[in-house]
Amino acid sequence: MRSAAGERKEILADIRFALAPGEVTALVGPSGSGKTTLLKIIAGLDHDFEGEVTIPAERLGFVFQEPRLLPWRTVEENVRIAAPQASNSDLEPLFNALGLGQHRRHFPGELSLGLARRAAVARAFAVRPDLLLLDEPFVSLDETLARQLQEELIALVERSCVTSLLVTHDILEAARLVERVIVLDGRPARMVADLAIEKPRAQRSATFVSSIADRIRSTRLTTS
């Protein structure tokens, strides 16, 4: 990767993993550890790397950290432009599940960040992705809003059984939501752990979640 100043910098090294179909995996690590870069490499948006990415799936759903909606198109148009094949009966339940039913005709500038994020999530699901990439989709939302969106998102993921990769720096969030956690750390970032969380999401108590979080924390090389 080349920085703005033009120096070459190694961000990621020795990363190797495979995702099982339908599995929800979190990619955890401190900020600046190259999680977003890894996501972009997987999505084919960043070509400046050595290695191999094989995606048997074709359609990709991407929820960026900022919603990245087209400001000059309405919420519904934003979704339809990305998913031209989606029918009204596909979109109706999706908009309703995300609480966007009232906002289909609104422009992104008229939405709060929470609603704009939901619109971005709706867009990613509308393409019926084979692989869903989520880049910190709950960051800078308040606790209640984040929880609400997490629940809606997980419900959608479970219903569509889509293979998902969630990038987050929030360890508790990962412990609560996913089935597998890959921890990145160091400079350049390497995989320091790959944990499976077998207990079904619905049965995870607060103590269980915090014990998992402690396990994830203990794998870190550096504490920052």
Binding site: L60, F62, F64, W72, R73, I81, A82, F107, G109, L133
Partner: protein, 246 residues
Amino acid sequence: MIWRIASLAGFLLAWQLGSSLAGAAILPSPAAVLMALLEEARSGALALNLLATLARVAAAFTVAILFGSAIGYAMGRSATFDRVADPWLILLLNLPALVIILLAYVWFGLTEAAAVGAVAINKLPNTIATLREGARALDPALDEMGQAFTFDPLTRARHIVVPQLAPYLAAATRTGLSLVWKIVLVVELIGRPNGVGFAIGTAFQLFDVARILAYGLCFVAVMLAIETCLVQPLERHASRWRTRKA
């Protein structure tokens, strides 16, 4: 609105006053200009010349905007192309309009194509420079979004690129229309047998100041109508997402 009407009335009054001070031969009164205008309208010359000029404006403007946008976009997106083409652009920006017009007539004859081409080339560098700024300001984040969702080139152009370039296109259109019609008149004055420029040239040879003013004002009115009936509504449509606020 009241101030606008008052201002316009003041202008007519000053005109009338100037006319009586300077003499009707040098500055004809508003009424004399109106008579000249009606006379031209009755003979059919006004419509013929206006249409000829408008057709040239439309043709030159379209050519300049199409080519200018394409070249400007390419220069804004590719640093190499920008470096190669920039000296040409500076040359073209600073070449006097008259030189381009005369050279076009010398090289290609007193033809319609030479006239329209010369006007288009005069407008071209300005469009290129404006659209280059627009292309440089394109948001890479939205570009990436389009790539991630595998937008085809047409979708990308229509929904990602053109809306971002709209303000720059509007600016190029604005300055373009006023620039183009002024240069079209010069082109017509020098080497065309019809059009507003030609009519004004003939009137000048006869020292018919009333006719010069009649054509001049008439043309301003036409351009004003295009601005309010075409350019402004289009701009409002393109920026509708900006104006509404929750």
